[in-house]
């Protein structure tokens, strides 16, 4: 089976859908001729023409706003926000418009848009090229929020997102665009081609939204992770030898609570990981749900390993990033609890 990087998988998903469905249009800053600053849309304008894939003015509110209008018309817009850190000017259109249109019009109008945005740190991007704002989307009813951790999922989830009839926020951990990353920034970079999940079938397939994936079976502790942190979790489990069960959530809303419940009831312990700042991060919701649903099975406090409650710093990137050592420590301490 062909092997793809995340970038290639994401591009291929758009390519497949643009070919299948001429309502699919792709746009954003530098997305047209240039193919996007991360190259995710490279070649699409050449292949499908400038009215199917084009550059936009630097206006995130405009990008999402016209996407909502296009979707109401009947198109399937896939908009790129150059960095998730720059989604804020478009947040009103996402929250007040895309997310609520179906509800407030009782289904007369809908906004089946996909808003793609690179997120997360690890590239020395500082506080404005490193953010993970997923919790700002998961709090907004009417949105679905997706974040893949590997090329196979990225392609399948993006195709599913484009086919979705509700607006989807599609977060792309930029640090793993071109290779998996386990947080060991001091070790040589690994290419995707050596990772089994870089095998992505050509053509159309989907990974359904709302389903988590079991990345590692284990019985001692459940680790809930998504995006880059899935790889960090795997490294931490391997290095500590802790018999951890690692769940890659893939979709944050709607959440696969069955998968979570099943695992935590089995292990009785839970560690939650994300790169975003801790307070009111999505880990809080996960923690709340785990204790609501599995209280009587829990043998130790649920732990969160997250970014600190500071902006993402530049020089101190690796002090901020919740790397395998911090995860390992949390695994150990959760095992000792109870």
């Amino acid at each position: 089976m062909p092997r793809r990087t995340m970038v290639e998988a994401i591009r291929d998903a758009m390519d497949v859908m643009m070919a299948r469905d001429d309502r699919v249009v792709v746009f954003g800053e530098d997305v047209g001729y240039f193919g996007g600053v991360f190259r995710c849309t490279e070649g699409l304008q050449r292949k499908y023409g400038p009215t199917r894939c084009f550059d936009t003015p630097i206006s995130e509110s405009g990008i999402v706003g016209v996407a909502v209008g296009m979707a109401a018309y009947g198109l399937r817009p896939v908009a790129e926000i150059q960095f998730a850190d720059y989604m804020y000017p478009g947040y009103d259109q996402i929250v007040s418009e895309a997310a609520r249109l179906r509800y407030r019009s009782a289904g007369e109008f809908t906004a089946p848009i996909v808003v793609r945005m690179p997120c997360g740190g690890g590239i020395f991007g500082g506080q404005t090229h490193s953010q993970s704002p997923e919790a700002l989307f998961t709090h907004v009813c009417g949105l679905k929020t997706v974040i893949p951790s590997n090329p196979y999922d990225a392609k399948g989830l993006l195709i599913a997102a484009i086919e979705e009839d509700d607006p989807v926020i599609f977060l792309e951990p930029k640090r793993i665009y071109n290779g998996p990353f386990d947080g060991h920034h001091d070790r040589p970079v690994v290419p995707w081609s050596r990772h089994p999940l870089s095998e992505t079938p050509d053509g159309y397939y989907t990974v359904p939204l709302g389903q988590a994936a079991l990345r590692r079976e284990g019985s001692a502790v459940t680790v809930l992770a998504y995006g880059t942190m899935v790889h960090v979790a795997e490294a931490a489990a391997a290095e500590t030898g802790v018999d951890a069960e690692i769940i890659d959530l893939r979709t944050l809303v709607p959440l696969d609570v069955d998968a979570i419940e099943r695992s935590v009831r089995k292990t009785g312990r839970c560690v939650i990981l994300h790169e975003a700042t801790r307070t009111s991060g999505f880990g809080a919701e996960l923690s709340a749900q785990v204790q609501e649903r599995c209280f009587y099975h829990l043998e130790a406090p649920i732990a969160r390993v997250t970014g600190w409650d500071t902006p993402y710093p530049h020089a101190q990137e690796w002090d901020y990033f919740p790397g395998p050592d911090r995860v390992a420590r949390a695994l150990q301490s959760v095992l000792e609890g109870g």
Partner: protein
């Protein structure tokens, strides 16, 4: 080096007068009807900059239609226009009353502004899409959209097509080319541009119309809309309804002191016009011009409609706190219904008697509709949308967490 200069001071604009003062529209420059030229629809934006500082007017004081903008409307079309405006006004009167009676929580009239929506709608065709504000009920009433349907929404009753979910007057009527109104100002202006872009992408022939109040032009999305309209030149008409007030804030607070709202288009290379929004004929003529531009792939047009908000901002507002009570009477562009009525009389096609009779008919029709709507319930009385409706439509298919919450609620 800065010490040689005098102290700076902040300019804080406001209306020329406040309650207790005498109304003052002396700053307004209003050309005579018929005075403004009618350029060809493919004119360059830069060749009509002057029209953004003038006012296209057709009906003169004598009730005659004069000048190059007189639209080709027969007497029947004019009567339909009159009827639509009168119905809109009667509807507003009845619904304000219903609000006072507690049948709904909230209402917004468009009194004095009826010509704009009622006239504009007749320039559109089937399949075109308006992105209206809360003050464009005339777009629906001019299409004879059932009043009962609007009232059901206002009463949030069991027959409300929006299932009680949305604030009164924030209608949605897809079949009528009336996009779901948002409670957030300005957001839909850029959506109209996006819809029009989609129409152009698909090689369609349908056009979109965005609507915004002069106060809301300050919002970000006004700019986003103009930028995207300027860049991609989609078939969209960008309407700015300048009714002089934004709740308690005079248009000066939105920048109206320094330039007209029509002039905003200049920096984007978008052709723009300013028109008498209380002149049904001017509205139709200018709308036709802009719609033809859109239809002929000539791109966007911005129109500032000059009018006056006669009533309170909403049923929650009391304008006597911030503007002279008499200001409405002093408004120099008159009342749109009176002006069209006079024109029809001048044409020999109308009379005071027929007007009185039509008024009575319309009031009956509105009252009958209100009675029918009330049978489906009002906000605090009678049948209403169910609690289960609250959980539906957040997503196309109800996800598990909402199913669980619905169960938790026991509905």
């Amino acid at each position: 080096m800065t010490t040689e200069w005098q102290s700076l001071s902040l300019h804080v604009p406001g209306p020329p007068v406040r309650p207790g003062d005498r109304p003052d529209f002396s700053q307004m420059q209003i050309p005579r009807a018929g005075e403004v030229r009618r350029p060809p629809v493919d004119v360059a934006a830069s060749d009509i900059h002057d029209l953004a500082y003038s006012v296209v007017r057709v009906l003169n004081r004598q009730g005659e239609a004069v000048g190059p903008w007189v639209p080709a409307l027969d007497v029947d079309a004019l009567k339909l226009g009159l009827r639509a405006m009168m119905k809109t006004r009667a509807f507003d009167v009845r619904m304000m009353m219903a609000q006072r009676q507690g049948k709904t929580s909230f209402y917004m009239q468009c009194t004095g502004e009826e010509a704009i929506a009622c006239g504009f709608q007749t320039a559109l065709g089937t399949g075109d899409m308006n992105f209206p504000t809360y003050r464009q009920q005339g777009l629906l009433i001019a299409q004879d959209w059932p009043l009962v349907d609007l009232m059901n929404q206002i009463f949030s009753n069991q027959a409300d097509r929006l299932r009680g979910r949305q604030l009164p007057v924030l209608y949605s009527a897809r079949e009528a080319g009336f996009f779901s109104v948002s409670g957030n100002l300005g957001t839909q202006y850029v959506q109209a541009v996006g819809w029009a872009m989609a129409s152009a992408i698909r090689g369609d022939t349908r056009v979109a119309a965005g609507w915004i109040g002069e106060g809301s032009t300050a919002e970000s999305d006004f700019h986003s809309a103009l930028v995207f309209a300027s860049v991609y030149r989609p078939p969209v008409i960008l309407n700015v309804v300048n009714n002089q007030w934004a709740i308690s804030s005079n248009q000066a607070v939105a920048g109206g002191e320094s330039a007209t709202f029509a002039a905003r288009a200049h920096g984007y290379g978008i052709p723009s016009l300013r028109a008498d929004g209380n002149d049904y004929l001017a509205v139709r003529a200018v709308a036709d011009w802009a719609v033809e531009r859109a239809r002929r792939n000539l791109g966007p047009t911005l129109i500032e409609w000059v009018t006056y908000r006669v009533g309170p901002h909403s049923s929650s507002d009391d304008p006597s706190r911030y503007r002279p009570k008499e200001e409405s009477d002093a408004w120099p562009l008159g009342d749109p219904i009176e002006r069209l009525k006079k024109h029809l009389i001048v044409l020999g096609a109308w009379s005071e008697e027929r007007h009185t009779q039509l008024q009575a008919e319309i009031e009956d029709e509105v009252l009958a509709a209100a009675r029918e709507a009330e049978r489906h319930g009002t906000l605090h009385d009678g049948p209403r949308p169910s609690a289960a409706d609250m959980f539906r439509g957040v997503y196309k298919d109800m996800p598990r967490h909402l199913r669980e919450q619905r169960q938790e609620m026991g509905v």
